[in-house]
Subunit: 450 residues, 2 copies
Amino acid sequence: MTFEVTSEFLENLSQLIDLKKDAAIKVLFEEVHAADIAEILNDVDFDEAIYIIKLLDSEKTSEILTELDEDTRTRILENLSAKEIADEIGEMYTDDAAYILSELSEERQKLVINELVDDEHAADIKELLSYKDNTAGALMAKELVKVYETWTVAGCLRKIRRQAKHVSKVHSIYVVDKKEKLVGRLSLKDLIIAKSDQKIADIYISAVDSVNVNEDDEEVAKIMSKYDLEAIPVVDDNNILLGRITIDDIVDVLKEEADRDYQLAAGLTQDVDSDDSILDLTKARLPWLILALFGGFISVSVLGGFGDAMKNFPELFFFTPLIAAMAGNVGVQSSAIIVQGLANNSLRGSLVKRLFKEVLLSLLNGFFLAILLMSAGMLILGFEFKVGLTVAISLISVIIIASIIGTFVPIILDKKNIDPALATGPFITTSNDILGILIYFLIAKTVLGF
Amino acid sequence: MTFEVTSEFLENLSQLIDLKKDAAIKVLFEEVHAADIAEILNDVDFDEAIYIIKLLDSEKTSEILTELDEDTRTRILENLSAKEIADEIGEMYTDDAAYILSELSEERQKLVINELVDDEHAADIKELLSYKDNTAGALMAKELVKVYETWTVAGCLRKIRRQAKHVSKVHSIYVVDKKEKLVGRLSLKDLIIAKSDQKIADIYISAVDSVNVNEDDEEVAKIMSKYDLEAIPVVDDNNILLGRITIDDIVDVLKEEADRDYQLAAGLTQDVDSDDSILDLTKARLPWLILALFGGFISVSVLGGFGDAMKNFPELFFFTPLIAAMAGNVGVQSSAIIVQGLANNSLRGSLVKRLFKEVLLSLLNGFFLAILLMSAGMLILGFEFKVGLTVAISLISVIIIASIIGTFVPIILDKKNIDPALATGPFITTSNDILGILIYFLIAKTVLGF
């Protein structure tokens, strides 16, 4: 059922634009979902995208704009007047409108808001823009269905018919008292099942989850997915109902969070995608690389310190990348498990028990790998027993220490309120590299006595 | 508004259980959400968990079971009879029921299903169990509100009142023809706004998104989040309406997908969490470590092949971990950006353009890092110019090649229908390690002439 953008479709579209066959273009897009049109606009030439946006009705283009990639949207909005943007914004729900406006300069925001025809809509959008980024307030929409506890079911249905026109999907009906304080909720279903002369006060459910307008959006996502909520009302400190957040917004928050963790683990310090400028990509990539370079520098010094061993045991130096790589890999594995446990709130049991388990696990893995390494090193590469033994003992030690570091660094970061996902990145790899090499040569020195 | 499990609460609970104050325990849990009780049960002693499950009403415990960690749930279900499990399952929606049953052995599944009182419910669950894992069929619920196009609005509302009792949240009302084929949808809102003597055929919306019962669940997640759908009907090859999938299930699918990608990138071959057994953890961790070990082995051989250079240029060998680490880090960064681009369907432009951009970016980063390395190496560690130059040139070359590999390996994997997330894992690190070292020594050989 997904719409596929074929090259024929794009060619056909280009031709129609060249020939300025506006009516045909409109027909072409009639049955296509806004999200699909957005994908097409991300792909076509910029001039064509502008042409299509200016051609289609604002009812449709407002949806398309909401779905576009931020880069494409920014470029398109730069080519529209404040009045044209206001026409688009006027068709959007308040949350989408505020989100898109927030991408403009403050000056331009004001110009667009002044052009909005509906004063109430404008006031709502202004309110949403006033909340801090990444809070419930910045995420919520003002559109909701609200009834007073004193109303009757019949009266309520009448009012809802009017309110519901502005609300795309009615998840819950929120019940407020005279002072606009949230007191409960009601589903459309409950309302349909109730008798028409019943009072709302008699049928509403007073147990209603809500979040404060200043709550962090990732916390809201956690609450909504934990309690399987499809919408949650947002209140201020006095419990006055301000707006609602729906689960589709939460899906976006969760995605962004997962993307960020993934990028941190890969050593990218800011949110980038492959279409960003080389400067942005460099900014995201260089900081960790510099850190890794300095880490590498330390390992150079460590190796230099053991340089004298080269005369008698040159083979030792052939194994350094292997030891470093194993330390890095084990560290990342251990920390990834902890980072996910912290994110899913599923870490249980004491630290001592966890330590014991990691050591046991590492011993098991380490022994197996060490035997593999020793036999292969001696049989295939012909190293002498003492060197093989040194490398094997080092491998086990390095694996144990790397897994302990991988386990505890994220736990410590989390306790200090630093994102533990940082730990799976180059930070763990680099420090385990250095430590691994140091341990390796210290053991070698002891065993081989140089 | 989140419920916090305090240590006082847990102590109080333990005491009440010791004293067998059942009524007091019930009161204690009365106002607590099932998801919170599940968290408590994950934490308390196992005997206490069983005690609580057997004490509370099945209406509540069925919800709690759905929310429990799989490990805890498995242990609890082992302690319940088929009849007791059937009582719990009987209270659940079909999708939750089938999901939990799927965790039992086939034999036990049959025993439990035989104990179910409601035959229709049992048949629905059996049907859901028959679909393959990770398909729309395995994810959907049978509960939905369905009306025939020939009905009137008034008749429809009557029927819905009855059907809706079994459906927690009415997202959409699905309209079918006489042959049960899906022909359209209707929102409760539309129904309330319509006149009571209108025919459904006149008011329903025929544009209805649906997915085939055999569709991959990640594909369903993509469709639902792309089109912002809160529920989607599931049909068979003949377009017969079979069930529906709601967005909260999709949130779980997206989370699992993100977790899996993250784990793959960290070198874990199966889904594990820190509470899994040492055997399971070893199974997840060892395969990549063995691969990394073999990779390390190759690097040992490569270094061994250049062993003669050690006499004249011992410093060269101090830099191998640095070169390998930089190659690994750059490779992971490049591949992570591509993997996310593939996942979000946001990769645009030709391969040649991408290649050009990566090379330019790497040159920029590489130059900067090389200058840093050379000046630090010569000034602080006192290496001679020729060695510094060799390392610097190698660093730039290695960064360019690692970033090209990091960029194209995931693209190639994706084209071959292999999960590109594999590429950010130890696979890229290991191959870049080896290649990095090889390039480094080849360049050294050319520049220094050994």
